[in-house]
Amino acid sequence: MAFLRNKLRPFSATHVGLAGFVVLAACVGYGQTTNSCLDCHSALPDPLGVSQEKFSQDIHAQKGLTCASCHGGDPTSDDPDKAMSRKAGWKGKIEHKQIPQLCGTCHSDPAYIRQFNPSLRTDQLDQYHTSVHGKRLAAGDTKVAVCTNCHSVHDIRAPSDPRSTVNPVNVANTCARCHADADYMKGYSIPTDQFAKYSTSVHHEALTVRGDLSAPTCTTCHGNHGAAPPGVDKVQNVCSNCHTFQAQMYEKSSHKKAFEAASLPGCVVCHSNHGISHPTDAKLGDGPEAVCMRCHAPGDRCDQARAEIQSSLSRLDEAIKGADRVLRVAESSGMEVSEARLGQDQARDSLTKARVTIHSFKRELVDQDIQAGLKIAAKNLQAGNEAMVERNHRRVGFGISLIAIGIVLAGLRLYIKKIES
């Protein structure tokens, strides 16, 4: 017993404490990649603060990377001097203009990225160099966006995560952080109302309200890493990716040549670029929403054409609505009109098709679709009317049976009177 006590004596309480602490830290850190940076930095205030909780959301942390993977240094050491030593490669806070290069050291290396996600693209840095942001950064402008401005930092999530700043539903908000800030954008010659306009658009509604992730956001038309506005003559190429038929028709139309010659941006002339609202037939009219009359003179043959197109569209619309009305009444009276109701869908399809055909700017083509639709709507209206006739038959039939009942009642009354007199 004394022998042991003598052997243990050199170990003082502090040494035991420290050793214990190390053992404890090792136990706590067991199974995790040692990331001692967070031990201090999780307790520090902003801008030096990064909590364990925040960093654990980061996809890099989930893949096993540490602070040192980007910032350098020694993440295994608890000694701040050792951990943040230049000898160990510590870079400190990365300078704004160095960020793309830093991210690119891994993300432009296909062999490296393949270890983590073989299908992840590795051309982002190259694309970035072609973008407005990349070009301006190279020219010395440090106000432009780099990787971390869009992807966030220390809690970078995969784009498919709905909380990610680059998830399709969030992209516009991310871009707007700079591009909608008039003060920040002072000195640049571009407007700052794009986000405000986009928020009123059908695309925004489709994305955020209907949840249709195929709807376009900023990056769909401008690109993400290679973000740049499409050239004036290239706008219709961008729109045509989804709106193929309109684009095909426009391509063959007289307007394409005219707009190109005048250096006008194709689709944007009538539909605007950011604040794209749901087009109504009023665009063909002569009111405040009218687009044709912005260029064409009243009375010329194009003015006549557009007036005719507008009136035939509204004719078809009225025909469809009229048939719908009759069918609705018939249905609520208990009549069978489901076949006709189905047919109404076809009529509505014709109307949609006609509205697409407008982009050919040829009256005869639009007329073809209108006539097809009118025929269908007329057929359904007839079915609805027939159902109403049948409904009236029922009421007449009921009326007749009421008369028969009335006769019986009268007869019974008289019969009772007779047998009791």
């Binding site: 249709d212 992730l213 195929s214 989804c242 709106h243 193929t244 038929f245 489901s338 076949e339 109701r341 189905l342 869908d345 076809q346 399809d349 949609t352 098709k353 697409v356 007749i400 049976s401 008369i403 028969a404 009942i405 006769i407 019986v408 009642l409 009268a410 007869g411 019974l412 008289l414 019969y415 007779k418 047998i419 009791e420 007199s421």
Partner: protein, 161 residues
């Protein structure tokens, strides 16, 4: 006795009213009963006759007949209250799916040149299983079960196990 030897009603018998009004009231009553009986029996008898439209409900529908569709062609048929698409593939199989595009509900069609299902509104495309493969449609088309019995092609909703 309700009637005397000549068959004339005896006055005061509650079951035999006095003669002059008797006929009229009885006629009226009899006529009324007959009229109401006809008014009730006519619908019932019509009801008992099975209707021609032997619709088995929207559950299973005859989408077409064998020989109606050439290989590598399709047709839109009525499935309950919505349109359905029946395809005769080039390999001879019959496939059926909902014809309502999952983007904005236009009616799709079969394109024999593309060998795909195509939506004219925004160029959406689906493969022969109904899966959305190109363009805006966010979801596949609901796939239906096809059974050929005799020369009739029956289509019904898939029953999950």
């Amino acid at each position: 006795m309700p009637t005397d030897s000549q068959g004339m009603a005896n006055a005061g018998d509650p079951l035999s009213p006095t003669i002059p009004r008797r006929r009229f009231v009885e006629m009226l009553l009899g006529g009324g009963f007959l009229a109401t009986a006809v008014a009730f029996l006519y619908p019932v008898l019509r009801y008992l006759v099975p209707p021609k439209a032997s619709d088995l409900g929207s559950d299973a529908v005859v989408a077409g007949r064998v020989g109606e569709l050439k290989p590598n062609s399709g047709k839109v048929f009525r499935f309950g209250n919505r349109p359905g698409l029946l395809i005769h593939t080039s390999s001879g199989e019959y496939r059926a799916m909902s014809a309502t595009c999952t983007h904005l509900s236009c009616t799709v069609q079969y394109r024999d040149d593309l060998r795909q299902v195509w939506c004219a509104c925004h160029n959406g495309r689906y493969d022969l299983n109904g899966r959305n493969i190109s363009g805006p449609p966010p979801r596949p088309l609901e796939d239906f079960e096809v059974q050929v019995r005799g020369d009739e092609i029956f289509v019904r909703r898939r029953r999950d196990a």
